[in-house]
């Protein structure tokens, strides 16, 4: 870990300003991912801006009947919120499928969205990784890729985004609210927050330097049967091989987002239109451009079978 300077921000605007005006600064909230990465010198911020005092830890009703989740709401609290459990079951279930109780107590909503890939080659600083060291190559391609992306990947990177929460939020059409160093705020549909790796896998989101997530807004409840199914080798405390977030309406329409298959939560509205035709039709469209490796080709079949199970249960 490199030495760093540290400050506690007093307002979201001040935090953003400080981040933009200090070289190589990072925000820190729960720190469950960042500190691990700093110990390995995968992240080497010169300055940390602690945002834990920013009073962004409330869940409020919005004017249009949705919920605004403060950036600092802990995963445990979000999963347990009565309104979330009642109206956004897919989100509560996704949260509880993630990490461990201890980590969820600490991890925040914004931090969860911004956590970095768990690709083992990203974590071994002796090996090439374009995400960690741009231009060094991707050791995962041709290496151990059983956990890695099957779709939306590039020649530069086949990492997956590890979040469960983000997959549910994608299915819910959440909107990420931010403040920028100049004080301006903006709303980013979660579909647009995470980038595909392309030639620059080190740039993972559309956030600008210093831009701070302040909240995630959920639109008014969409009803339907909501499910989150996470498939993994061990029963807990493992990242998804494949996960399915689904919202199924009584008329057979609905929404589907997949985790564990791409650099971001994977949802295609065109694929959802096939829901009445069954799981195979949906995943065929979701994976139309898939380029799996030998190690992870099983994910295509697994996702289809998992979605089929989710749909069967939703319709039962």
């Amino acid at each position: 870990m490199r030495a760093f300077s540290y400050e506690r921000a007093t307002s979201p605007g001040a935090a953003a300003t400080a981040a933009a005006s200090t070289a190589n600064a990072k925000f820190i909230a729960g720190g469950t991912n960042l500190l691990d990465l700093m110990k390995l010198e995968i992240e080497t911020p010169a300055h940390l801006i602690d945002v834990n005092d920013l009073a962004l830890d409330r869940i409020e009703q919005t004017a249009d009947g949705g919920l605004r989740i403060g950036a600092l709401v802990r995963n445990t609290d979000l999963a347990a919120d009565a309104r979330v459990r009642r109206d956004y079951g897919v989100l509560s279930r996704a949260l509880l499928a993630g990490a461990s109780g201890q980590l969820r107590n600490k991890a925040t909503t914004a931090g969860n969205l911004l956590q970095r890939t768990r690709c083992p080659y990203f974590y071994d600083t002796d090996l090439p990784c374009n995400k960690r060291k741009p231009g060094s190559g991707c050791a995962a391609i041709g290496g151990f890729s059983r956990q890695l992306a099957v779709v939306g990947a590039s020649e530069a990177c086949i990492a997956t985004h590890p979040s469960d929460m983000a997959v549910a939020m994608r299915a819910l059409d959440a909107v990420v609210e931010t403040v920028r160093p100049d004080g301006a705020t903006r709303s980013i549909p979660i579909a647009d927050l995470h980038r595909l790796p392309g030639d620059s896998p080190e740039i993972e989101t559309v956030l600008q330097p210093g831009e701070l997530i302040t909240a995630v807004a959920l639109p008014k409840p969409v009803g339907g049967k909501q499910a989150y199914r996470k498939v993994r080798d061990r029963a807990s405390y493992a990242f998804a091989l494949v996960s399915v977030a689904a919202i199924v309406q009584p008329d057979g329409t609905g929404r589907v987002a997949l985790g564990g298959v791409a650099h971001k939560p994977w949802r295609l509205e065109a694929a959802e239109a096939k829901l009445p035709d069954g799981a195979k039709a949906v995943t065929a469209r979701l994976f139309a451009d898939a380029k799996p490796t030998k190690d992870n080709a099983y994910k295509l079949q697994l996702a289809e079978r998992t979605l089929a199970a989710v749909l069967r249960e939703a319709r039962a």
Partner: protein, 735 residues
């Protein structure tokens, strides 16, 4: 004390303390966080500095240059030790690759430097500033590709490279039912909770190391040899150990680097191996490729059994003896085994819980299940009908005790085996396909010299000192039980001090030999102490009875403590063994029964029930023994379903080298576990009539899981771990 004849009645047979489920005497220290582990010995020596290990970034090759300039200039740095400035180093008797690499690199994450600084954070930050240029060499990292060039290893601890009885080839070819299948087991890591850790301090040429090590005498000896100093100048202290599983049998880099760092910095230094380094820096259970051929009559009688195994290792490393159990487990007139060793440049393969047998049983016990399928015979029945009460290679040699049949039949009854449908894929419980599997458990009992010192003081307290270790197994407690039984005092009057090379040399902890041998050593010392107590009190030691803190003979009695009235009485002795282990085959047996559910859609495998029935001699402490067996069963589930050091064959390393990527079971993976110990005493093993049990518990578990998965789904997986991707193609179509 020499143990040359079968044990007869002795004070242990009173079973006043021995044989009772007894909570660990050091348990409260552990549950309150006050048992001091090596890295936390802040109290033992002042002015401790911190060392941080730099591991090689290549799998094979050499260091061209090391630039320490930036690291040396970093805040707080006191010293940096590399092979260049470490001075001449030897190599421990039990190490294959050198613990400090350079300029030649033997394997990935081989230690190449230790950076010593005033704080851990300073050492860690400076370690990142060590600049090393490597020249990559051509390494061999692919076992499957290397086996054609594999050689015949010299006979080792695990037995000869080739064995043959009768004519295997002819009888196999003639057998009406044949099985010929190849199985693979992956490299596995110990992944114990406490990483290797040491604090080293020099005082006038003498070295003291507070460490975490299973075998104190081996460690001290190899430390002295590596440093080129007299053995008397090395003291190792290791009273508490947070798990080892064989990963701490030997001197490892933490000890050496702490000692070298302390010498260079001129003050005590503590070093722990950082977790991501452990899987490639230390030893592991090597991968195997195993071919098993079994020929049988249609009634199930095995006529030919052959088992070949290939594994790889670094130079001076040994093969994984995965065929050992096949020589002894089942009858059959015609037999062969072969062990071959390929040269690989991966980290050193070595012992991990039940080395040899655990890997071998993973394959053999699937093979038996497959044979049962072919024969249309129940796999429990098939095993029972091929039982042998003699060593099949030497029929004149009997097993000292062998209750495999009892384990299988008791287990089948308790588990409800009769409810198993032999036809796979028939039982459904909601979304789960349910199946049952069975496997035999088998592990040899090893006897080896073990010494102890026992002291009686005037308060009547008995203190035992031995360099035996407690790696989480319960050694403290069974040793205290032994001394209490022998001296006729309650458990509270016994103090046990372990893990110090100043104490008499014990068997140490490994190969499930610790429990029986270390307590037998304490028994021997107690016999001696009883003699001197009797003498002191004027009793005939043959007739004296020790009970309730009193020594009695006829109608005379005296308080035990009285014997130490004029000063402590001390006795030291060792148990040493004659030929009983040669005359009789001493082994432990068991049967594992497992029920799994396999998700019909996703093929996720979850274990639903487990039962182990064990016959392993006298169970000294059923509570501790049960803990050992359920822990081993858990490890077996890991081996079956998830544990996998994935080799990156291009870069030459285990890429799954942290606890996120190397998955071991979590609580949610482990269901209710039942353990039954059959009533057994084995007078051939020692005066304790006990045998090992901790490694028996893992042998066969993974195969029982594999067989249950097959019974649930009809899919036979021969390559561990059994992960869902290997099942998907064979799963039923989604409804």
């Amino acid at each position: 004390m020499r143990f040359e004849h079968p044990a007869t009645f002795n004070p242990i047979d009173q079973l006043k303390v021995i044989g009772h489920p007894t909570s660990r005497i050091e348990g409260p220290l552990k549950t309150t966080g006050t048992a001091p582990y090596a890295y936390e010995r802040h109290d033992v020596v002042t002015n401790q500095a911190y060392g941080y290990v730099v591991g090689s970034a290549i799998g094979k090759g050499r260091i061209a240059t090391i630039n320490l300039e930036a690291a040396n200039a970093a805040p707080g740095v006191l010293a940096i030790v590399t092979a260049e400035n470490a001075g001449k180093l030897g190599k421990g008797e039990r190490n294959a690759a050198p613990l400090l690499g350079g300029p030649e690199i033997a394997h990935y994450h081989q230690a190449v430097a230790v950076v010593v600084a005033g704080t851990f954070e300073q050492a860690r930050a400076a370690a990142q500033l060590v600049r090393i240029d490597y020249v990559k060499g051509d390494g061999k990292f692919d076992l499957a590709a290397a086996i054609d060039a594999a050689g015949t290893p010299t006979p080792s601890f695990g037995g000869p490279a080739d064995t043959a009885v009768g004519d295997f080839a002819v009888s196999f070819a003639a057998a009406p039912v044949q099985l010929d299948a190849t199985y693979t087991t992956p490299d596995q890591g110990h992944a114990m909770m406490e990483p290797h850790a040491s604090i080293a301090a020099w005082d006038d040429g003498k070295l003291t190391v507070w460490t975490s090590n299973q075998m104190i005498a081996w460690g001290a000896e190899d430390m002295a040899k590596t440093l080129g100093i007299p053995k008397e100048n090395v003291r190792l202290v290791s009273p508490y150990i947070g798990g080892g599983f064989g990963g701490k049998l030997f001197l490892r880099a933490d000890v050496l680097l702490a000692a070298l760092g302390a010498r260079a910095a001129g003050r005590p230094v503590k070093v722990t191996l950082q977790r991501p380094l452990m899987f490639n820096n230390t030893t592991h259970r090597p991968a195997t490729i195993q071919r098993i051929r079994i020929g049988a009559e249609r009634d199930g009688r095995i006529t030919a059994i052959g088992h070949e195994s290939w594994s790889g290792n670094v130079k001076d490393g040994e093969p994984e003896m995965a065929v050992s159990q096949t020589r002894l487990l089942y009858a059959g007139a015609n037999r062969m085994t072969a062990t071959r060793l390929a040269a690989l440049d991966l980290p050193e393969g070595n012992a991990m819980r039940a080395p040899g047998e655990a890997s071998g049983m993973m394959a053999l016990e699937i093979a038996i299940d497959e044979l049962a399928d072919k024969l249309g015979i129940d796999p429990v029945v098939l095993r029972i009908s091929n039982d042998t009460q003699v060593d099949p290679e030497h029929p004149e040699r009997h097993f000292s005790q062998r209750q495999l049949v009892q384990c299988l039949s008791d287990g089948a009854a308790r588990f409800g085996w009769d409810k198993r449908d032999p036809k796979p894929g028939q039982i459904r419980d909601g979304r789960w396909l349910v199946g049952m599997g069975v496997a035999a458990a088998f592990r040899n009992n090893l006897v080896t010299k073990s010494a102890a010192r026992v002291r009686l003081d005037q308060q009547g307290t008995v203190t035992v000192e031995t360099d035996m270790t407690d790696i989480g197994t319960g050694s403290y407690t069974i040793i205290a039980q032994t001394a209490a039984e022998m001296m006729g005092v309650p458990l509270e009057r016994v103090v046990v001090r372990l893990g110090d090379s100043d104490f008499p040399v014990s068997c140490g902890s490994g190969g499930q030999w610790g429990g029986n041998n270390s307590t037998a050593g304490v028994y021997a010392a107690c016999v001696k102490l009883r003699e001197s107590i009797a003498q002191k009190l004027g009793f005939n030691s043959e007739e004296a009875e020790f009970a309730d803190g009193v020594v009695r003979s006829g109608n005379r009695s005296a308080p035990l403590a009285q014997a130490a009235g004029q000063g402590d009485l001390v006795a030291e002795d060792a148990i040493e063994y004659g030929d009983l282990a040669k005359t009789y085959q001493q082994s432990t047996f068991g049967a594992h029964f497992v029920e799994v559910g396999v998700d019909a859609d996703t093929a996720e495998i979850r274990v639903r029930r487990m039962l182990a029935v064990c016959a392993a001699g006298r169970i000294l402490n059923p509570k501790a023994a049960r803990s050992q067996v359920i822990g081993a069963m858990t490890m077996g589930v890991g081996a079956a379903l998830m544990e996998y050091l994935v080799v990156d064959k291009r870069h030459g390393l285990f890429i799954t080298h942290d606890l996120a990527a190397y998955e071991v079971p979590v609580h949610a993976d482990i269901p209710h576990q039942d353990v039954i110990f059959l009533d057994e005493t084995d007078p051939m093993s020692s005066p304790m009539k006990a045998k090992g049990v901790a490694e028996l518990g893992i042998c066969g578990v993974a195969a029982a899981v594999a067989n249950a998965v097959h019974n649930a789904t009809g899919v036979r997986v021969r390559d561990y771990p059994i992960t869902l991707d290997k099942l998907l193609a064979g799963m039923p179509e989604p409804v």
